[in-house]
């Protein structure tokens, strides 16, 4: 799978970039393993995933070209 990754807030500080492409397996569990391999500090922070702008709560299948966002807790307002 070719996936676009978006990172926000303190996650972008930690990864050092806010948008990049990644190649990974066909589900989010696999994607997270790949990301945690590259950025071990992701273990220490709280975030959720959104695939194509929809929040996901469990392991979810990915499609080629999906955009996955790493979202720390919202703090608008």
């Amino acid at each position: 799978m070719k996936i676009t990754i978006l990172a926000f807030g303190n996650i972008a500080d930690l990864t050092g970039k806010s948008s990049w492409k990644i190649t990974c397996g066909n589900n989010t569990k696999d994607l997270l393993q790949t990301l945690h391999g590259e950025f071990p500090e992701l273990h220490k922070v709280k975030y959720v995933l959104a695939i194509n702008k929809k929040l996901i709560l469990m392991n979810t299948l990915l499609n080629d070209g999906d955009t996955v966002a790493l979202l720390p807790p919202f703090s608008g307002g």
């Binding site: 959104a50 702008k53 919202f74 608008g76």
Partner: protein, 147 residues
């Protein structure tokens, strides 16, 4: 009803009190409105470990935030008998004392505008992909905790 208009929520920098006054003035010709409720979020000069917050820098996952704001608008219009609803949120830097959120609801009777305004504020804080970065005097920063 305005629920189908595409609304531009995001404002660069602080929302000016004059803008709020002008938004109110635009409703004097809507003669069926009896009640307006307004919530304003203002950036606090909090002291965090002896360091004063001088400003907050807001960023958003724009496409996702706009989609969710649209869903919030639709569901609030379904739930409450509102005549108007306006939501504005700052992006970028807002100095302490500046307004970063402006929620404005109008209805025939007060209960609808009051309850809708409160629910919109809660939902924006909990559901919309916006992040605040608290900037200190010494140019260090900390990511804001969800309120």
């Amino acid at each position: 009803m305005e629920q189908n208009k595409i609304k531009n929520v995001f404002v660069n920098g602080a929302i000016s009190p004059i803008f709020v006054g002008e938004a109110i003035a635009k409703h004097t010709n809507k003669k069926n409105i009896g009640a307006h409720s307004i919530f304003l979020g203002q950036v606090r000069c909090d002291l965090i470990e002896n360091n004063s917050v001088v400003a907050i820098h807001y960023s958003a996952y724009m496409e996702m935030a706009e989609e969710r704001l649209h869903e919030i608008r639709e569901s609030i219009f379904k739930k409450y008998n509102l005549i108007c609803m306006h939501i504005y949120h700052s992006l970028g830097r807002v100095e302490a004392g500046g307004i970063c959120l402006f929620v404005f609801t109008s209805s025939i009777h007060r209960k609808d505008s009051i309850d809708a305004c409160t629910e919109i504020v809660e939902r924006i804080k909990n559901e919309v992909a916006i992040w605040g970065k608290e900037l200190f005097e010494d140019e260090s920063f900390v990511w804001k905790n969800p309120a």
